[in-house]
Subunit: 395 residues, 2 copies
């Protein structure tokens, strides 16, 4: 599947940052980097990227990215970006794309599954399909003055535009396009409207514009510094996993997504998840040593820090979209060994602490043996049971 991404505009409201909008940094990835890598995960194989404002800088960045992540990328130049609307950017690709394709905006963030479903969905031949958001009441991430509104009736677009008064959905900026879109935009342009919405209106008038309902999924258009802030928060909040336990949700994940991970990404731009796994393991070992050295409070604090850091490796992997099986395996192994070592350190501390053994009385020693034996085995068995059952019951 080919994908056309519009990255030609200046993004006036964000231009004071001095960075072309597609290169705006978000946690782990630049804005367009996230768009491209998410699209790749969703099944896109080849990219056509329309550049305009600061084209060279944007293209240099993407060329580097393409080399690093083995992407097939072509650039399409739009020298009219300053004076015409976004439909013109699409027209520039007319000679390169002769089949159905995906159209994305470089300044939108979206979920991989939304695009995956848009690509896989069934559709009538020759029909453009817009991924539409029908959560017009609940969606607080959009700017009502700026969002493109859509009036949909029975799965078909009736009207589309920013100034629509009657509408029931938002345009998420994700389209499944057929080559007919080019002639539709040309027709609209002849009537003075060079916008993509103009082209979609032409398609709609031919009953060739449908929608795909994105359901509960979220997306964002990043136009203002406030949007940018919201997007950062959104991306970090999305790192919380549904399977996270109580401690993780209430404490660890909050600290890792708000402090540790942002800090690591800010301090070490090129940090990899496996390095973070290793740092977390070293911290865990230090925590265990703390206990062995009869410094239980320091040991406990370091072990807790290790436990929080242990969330950051996966968070960085997901933010940077560099999840690998090896990374998951490496992390899981280090975690088990580190946890066990911390337990063992605690055991050595407790068994050699005169205070505690006196407190526990005559049966202190066997009691401590049993408690730590059960803790050590029980802790490993949680992970083992989970892995084994997934293995046996999902294949």
């Amino acid at each position: 599947m080919k994908c056309l991404i519009i990255a030609a505009g200046k993004g006036n409201r964000l231009s004071r940052t001095g960075i072309p909008k597609p290169l705006l940094p978000l946690p782990g990835l630049r804005l367009i980097e996230r768009t491209i890598l998410t699209a790749k995960q969703a099944g896109v194989e080849e990219f056509y990227i329309v550049t305009g404002y600061r084209a060279q800088q944007v293209e240099d960045f993407i060329t580097q990215l393409a080399l690093r992540r083995k992407l097939k990328v072509h650039f399409v130049s739009n020298d009219e970006w300053e004076h015409k609307e976004n439909g013109v950017s699409i027209l520039k690709a007319k000679n390169y794309i002769k089949e159905d394709f995906i159209l994305l905006m470089s300044d939108h963030i979206f979920e991989e599954s939304t695009l995956k479903d848009l690509i896989r969905g069934s559709r009538d031949k020759g029909r453009v399909v817009l991924a539409a958001d029908f959560k017009i009441e609940e969606n607080t991430l959009i700017d009502l003055n700026d969002v493109t509104k859509v009036q949909v009736n029975d799965g078909t677009i009736q009207n589309i535009g920013k100034t629509l008064k009657v509408y029931n959905a938002f345009d998420t900026g994700m389209f499944y396009c057929t080559p007919e879109i080019f002639t539709a935009i040309e027709e609209s342009a002849q009537n003075g409207d060079t916008s993509l919405s103009g082209g979609i209106r032409v398609m709609a008038s031919r009953d060739k514009a449908g929608v795909y309902d994105i359901g509960k999924r979220i997306w964002m258009d990043i136009d203002t510094p406030l949007d940018w802030k919201k997007a950062r928060r959104l991306l970090y909040n999305n790192l919380i996993k549904p399977e996270d336990g109580w401690i993780s949700r209430k404490i660890n994940r909050k600290i890792s997504t708000r402090i540790f991970t942002p800090l690591l990404l800010a301090l070490f731009k090129r940090i990899t998840p496996n390095i973070v796994s290793l740092i977390s393991a070293v911290a865990g070992i230090l925590g265990g040593i703390g206990f062995i050295l009869h410094l239980p409070v320091i040991g406990a604090i370091i072990a807790q820090i290790a436990s929080i850091l242990d969330g950051s490796d996966g968070e960085i992997a997901r933010l940077k979209k560099v999840q690998t099986s090896f990374g998951k395996f490496f992390d899981a192994l280090l975690d088990r060994y580190t946890d066990s070592f911390v337990f063992f350190g605690m055991f050595l501390y407790v068994i050699s602490s005169a205070e505690i053994t006196t407190l526990l009385g005559k049966m202190a020693v066997p009691l401590i043996y049993w408690i730590f034996g059960l803790a050590l085995v029980g802790n490993l068995m949680v992970s083992y049971t989970s892995a084994k059952s997934c293995l046996l019951y999902t294949s």
Copy 2:
């Protein structure tokens, strides 16, 4: 896929056992039970079973089996079994099977994968395909005087029969048949030959008989008491897994496949693998208690017995063809807990044994802590690593 199984003959050379040949007991399953369940695993959905000698007894048994294992079974009666050859048994099913089907002999044992590949293999329309064994030199499981020989040229059967002088393969008794086989046998019968081989020769004369090379896979035709003995040994030997470790291959598996599993199957006909898992776990716990009670030799012997028994549950599951995900999970969990308990029992014994601690000198106690900590964690980590890596790398 439908499957026709011939189970009409008397099996003279085995008849002194007093049991109709299809009901001959093999480890875990009767002869025809194994044929049926293996075929089901390979993808057969519906069975047509031709009965003759002691038909009622055979049918009663299979009806019970069908209820227990949810099989779709039809019986086809052959009252001419005593005086005519096996082609007649096939002809009796002519009115019931109108499409391609699998033809099997009730007295052959074979590997599931052989039949699976025979079913899935590509073939020319209207062609009968025989699963042929080209290992005519290496195969020591067959009786050269009795086996049906095949002369194959360029994947096509040239000739087939027991008395063939020139041949390059054996007939394994497994066929992918088209309904044309019925008219071919009829034609052969008109010329006085009521055998299946006669029918195949007719098909071959029309260039409609091909072969599928079973490669290194093994199979057996069970005709004599010696065959029966060989088959028992073969089935037990097949329980040795390629991933079994050294201790398992050299000691545990030998004892479990030669003594424990045969004994359990002989003593408790209805024993289930999960019960054996439980018995093995109880034995392991007793072994651990032996150590705790300062009876290390008895503890070690019981723990070793538990370890051998731990092979029997899977062996019985495979022999009876009742492997389940739950069974594997249950066994794996019990094993980990049992192993850990044995280690813990050893630890309690060693740490409280004045002899050993004196022997180890001043550092005895921390040394023992570290050794058992490493052993406990290391042992669990072997299983965890294996499960986790399978999970991450096979999906």
